[in-house]
């Protein structure tokens, strides 16, 4: 995946202001930044929902401008906010989005069961999502993104506001998917999370990428990588003023 000099303004406000980065096949890439940094806007542009004002996007060799449909057939998106049908059962949600991703009815059902199992939700397959806990909904939200076996997965803060067990389950699953060859773009503002699973991270603030490297290299710049945390680096780079 290659993004080159992406710009996006809402009115006069420059939400994304010249972002360039690329992700290698099979890599877990972390996009870090305080609230309002422009992470979600970047993901929406990369996932074909939002047209950039300028800049270039190439995913799997397809250009966004001319081959958005081809791109949509190889990506999976787990949006920051829950995006599912609460009135339907977990399995019906999964099958529906599986079919939207191009699976036939048989494959959609098989994959749905497999992914629910992955998320530890196979027992609740027939349960209405509305009755699920916050952590379970988050896991379903992620499981839906896996339907159709996308080559590139966009995960926008998939672990926000959930219990440590659900969070741990999600980490392990992401690492498991990577082993199967999936490429992942992961946004978060939990630094230890990024340190744990990302090969490379970019730190974003005010619509720009202000640092990009392996977590180890970034920490080395501040001192001994064993003593410094990614959070120290983050605060040093983005400052201590409050964001919202």
């Amino acid at each position: 995946m290659i993004a080159k000099d992406l710009h996006k303004s809402f009115g006069d406000f420059k939400a994304v202001n010249g972002v360039s980065f690329s992700i290698n096949k099979g890599e877990i890439f972390g996009l870090l930044g305080p609230n309002g940094a422009g992470k979600t806007t970047t993901i929406r542009m990369l996932s074909t929902v939002l047209a950039p004002d300028s800049g270039q996007i190439i995913i799997g060799g397809h250009s966004m401008k001319s081959e958005a449909e081809a791109i949509r057939s190889i990506i999976g998106v787990c949006p920051q906010d829950l995006a599912l049908y609460e009135d339907l059962s977990a399995i019906d949600n999964m099958i529906f989005f599986g079919r939207m991703a191009g699976l036939n009815s048989q494959d959609a059902r098989t994959q749905a069961m497999a992914n629910l199992k992955l998320m530890g939700l196979e027992e609740r397959a027939k349960g209405k999502v509305a009755k699920f806990s916050g952590g379970m909904k988050r896991r379903i939200n992620l499981a839906i993104a896996l339907m159709g076996n996308p080559q590139l997965l966009f995960l926008d803060e998939p672990t926000v506001g959930i219990d440590p067990q659900s969070r741990n389950n999600i980490y392990e699953n992401i690492l498991g998917l990577q082993k199967k060859g999936m490429t992942v773009l992961y946004t978060t503002h939990y630094m230890e999370e990024a340190d744990r699973i990302c090969q490379r991270v970019a730190i974003m603030d005010g619509g720009k990428i202000i640092a990009m490297d392996t977590p180890y290299q970034l920490k080395s710049q501040l001192g001994s990588p064993d003593k410094v945390t990614l959070e120290d680096v983050f605060l040093k780079l983005t400052g201590r003023s409050l964001r919202d």
């Binding site: 809402f10 996932s47 929902v49 599912l84 049908y85 609460e86 009135d87 339907l88 079919r99 991703a101």
Partner: protein
């Protein structure tokens, strides 16, 4: 296209899942129908059961009972004298017709027979109406006897005995009375104001099409609901194209509006007898096309509305305006300004088409213009809604 159908199926599943929505969707037509029935269906005929104690069981008592039975709205229940007495005693009944033994014999021999009303008090209001109906029937029998008797007397007096047989006289008199019955000298016809079938014909189509217009608001909300759930953005990152999304929603909206309206129309069919089987089918076809046109207009609203409230209100205002201009609640005078404005209301065309179909007993001829207008709205609605749809500002 297949994905569009999947969207439709999903929409239907969501509709069924929501028990409240489902109950509302099915109950609404039934409640609407009950209201229609209350407004238009109240003008039924007087109905009553005539209780008869027939101690005679002869030829003439049978004729009397048969003639009573043939009066519209009157049914006969036979009682024994004991039953009648005990029921009257317990106030179960207020009026019984008593035909005494020998009734037929007396009449046959030219004597004067008697009928008795056994009644509690004045027999009650229903009893009095019933009694006067029975009197009418008895009176007619009486006149027939009188005529037959007089004719027989005249013939015998003028021509002497046995020149013309009594049987022949009876037959000729009966035949002439029959002729007279067919074309009575004093005929009574009914001219009804307010409750005539035409009244139902005028308003049933309007209410039915108003009903279809509800689907306009439902389809207006189709995209906004998806947006609010967050599923719209997710859908747009899949292989589903916005065109398929719109078409799927469009089909779901037709289905829902159509289903509800068919429930309503079936009830109207069963009770009001507004339709013949053929005009019922033709009307359903008009409704299907009209539901599609209303849904297509709804999709235009869906493509611009940003909030559920906005979608609902625009939809409701549209529905109200079209319903009023379409002559649902009042007949629009030909050539009036209102009629000209009404030409801009979609359900004017649907109303006209249904009225035409009802009046012609199911023929679609003369509905061409209505179908062209509705078809045009479908095409324009789908194309325009797709063209102006932007999922997110600056988005696709």
């Amino acid at each position: 296209m297949k994905r569009a159908l999947l969207i439709t199926l999903n929409e239907i599943r969501l509709f069924i899942q929501d028990k409240g929505d489902l109950a509302f969707g099915i109950l609404l037509p039934i409640v609407t129908f009950a209201l229609m029935y209350g407004a238009f269906g109240g003008q039924t005929l007087f109905t009553a059961t005539a209780r008869v104690v027939d101690e005679d069981k002869g030829a003439y008592s049978t004729i009397l009972i048969n003639q009573l039975d043939q009066v519209q709205g009157i049914s006969i229940e036979n009682l024994t004298l004991q039953e009648a007495n005990s029921k009257l005693e317990r106030s179960d009944l207020t009026l019984v017709l008593y035909i005494p033994a020998g009734f037929s014999d007396t009449l046959a021999s030219g004597g004067k027979a008697e009928l008795t009303f056994m009644q509690r008090g004045n027999g009650g209001q229903d009893g009095q109406i019933l009694a006067s109906i029975i009197r009418g029937v008895a009176e007619r029998m009486n006149q027939q006897f009188q005529v037959a008797y007089q004719v027989s007397n005249q013939v015998t007096n003028n021509l002497g005995n046995n020149v013309v047989s009594q049987g022949r006289i009876k037959a000729v008199v009966a035949e002439m009375l029959n002729e007279e019955n067919k074309q009575p000298t004093v005929a009574v016809t009914e001219e009804v104001t307010g409750g005539s079938p035409d009244f139902v014909n005028q308003y049933v189509p309007g209410i039915v099409t108003m009903y279809v217009l509800f689907s306009l608001t439902l389809s207006a909300r189709a995209i906004v609901e998806e947006r609010k759930r967050g599923t719209l953005e997710r859908l747009l990152t899949t292989r589903l194209s916005p065109g398929e999304l719109f078409f799927g929603k469009f089909l779901a909206s037709i289905g829902r509006g159509f289903l509800q309206t068919v429930i309503l129309m079936s009830l109207a069919y069963a009770v009001f007898q507004v339709f013949t089987p053929l005009s019922f089918l033709a009307s359903i076809f008009v409704i299907l096309i009209f539901a599609a046109a209303a849904s297509a207009v709804g999709m235009i609203i869906a493509s611009v509305a940003r909030t559920e409230d906005a979608a609902t209100w625009i939809g409701v205002v549209f529905t109200m305006l079209m319903t009023m201009l379409g002559g649902t609640f009042f007949a629009v005078t030909k050539g009036s300004v209102l009629e000209i404005i009404g030409r801009f209301s979609l359900n004017t065309y649907a109303n006209d088409a249904i009225r035409t179909v009802i009046n012609s007993g199911g023929s679609l001829s003369g509905t061409g213009r209505a179908f062209i207008v509705m078809g045009g709205v479908i095409v324009v609605g789908l194309v325009v809604s797709r063209l102006i749809f932007r999922a997110v500002p600056g988005g696709k």
